[in-house]
Assembly symmetry: C2
Homo-oligomer: 169 residues x 2
Amino acid sequence: MAEGSGAGGPGSEALLFLTDDQLRKGIEAMFFAYRAFTADPDRILDDHAYGRAHHRAIHFINRQPGLTVNTLLSVLGVTKQSLNRVLRTLIEDGLVESRVGRQDKRERHLFLTAKGADLERALSDAQRARMRAAYRAAGPAAVAGFRQVLEAMMDPDLRRHYLALKEGG
Amino acid sequence: MAEGSGAGGPGSEALLFLTDDQLRKGIEAMFFAYRAFTADPDRILDDHAYGRAHHRAIHFINRQPGLTVNTLLSVLGVTKQSLNRVLRTLIEDGLVESRVGRQDKRERHLFLTAKGADLERALSDAQRARMRAAYRAAGPAAVAGFRQVLEAMMDPDLRRHYLALKEGG
DNA sequence: CTTGGAAAGTCAACAAGGCTGACATAAAGT
DNA sequence: ACTTTATGTCAGCCTTGTTGACTTTCCAAG
């Protein structure tokens, strides 16, 4: 309603959507939506005694098979020690395979095993189902705006990682 | 990829935005954007030896001054013990005040003190600045779509909390 | 060939912030 | 009088993040 009143000064029309109230709604929408966004995978992970950290590792190994530990590290934005704990259990459990690099033998290239790919599929199926329902409810135009805002929200460094994956698809 | 080939049946045009690739991009955009979304407040909180949990409590107490512990509990979706740890330090540090209910003396109503409101302002200023930049870069139409998709993503129970706040504004 | 640095892995210790379970108190409701 | 609700608290556990120190392996430049 406040948006409709034509009382603003010069140029205020174009900036009406930047009111604190609009911004606050966006902030709260992010908070609640992210909870929903992670809820389905979390349920599946619980059954396997894994956590969100395992999901993230599995996701990006699937997205970019053969990526090195260092690359995964910088995409995830965590420390080597933190990732290693997660990665070790995934390798021990036979979900991830680590192969020595051919050119540079210091590097380890990460791949999902068949078992790992199974879990990845279960997780991303669940997440995609929710995203699909939201997309369908909101419509194509809304989806375009959704991604535009999210991309504009990222730091340059994060956007770099995002875009690298976006092209690769 | 079956959806992407030009061979789709009737109605496939309208569903092009539901390809697995589009869904995946949305999922990854959520992941990276949420990191950026929380980065600025996290930096401020670090200086005060608080964490994201404190931020969330402060945010919702500010949004709905006088709300009861139980209400805050259900909005945040955590256990009483978990919230209490956070709330206790905020009260001890003089950021939050807890007043006994007048009608029902079992209830405690939560308010930000002046000091609490100061921190809240610093946190939300930072978060709004990022959101404002993203909104400005993406434009009003994108913003509408952004919120539509996020709202469609929420579980009914989460959306209930979101809408209650939305109206209250 | 030696040496410096990079990639990876590991150990130890710590902190935040979730969780469960058990229990205590005060106040309300029946 | 009894039960239920709202709150608070203690104790213990888990995941996942952190820092710091150290090792092994290997590449690459001097």
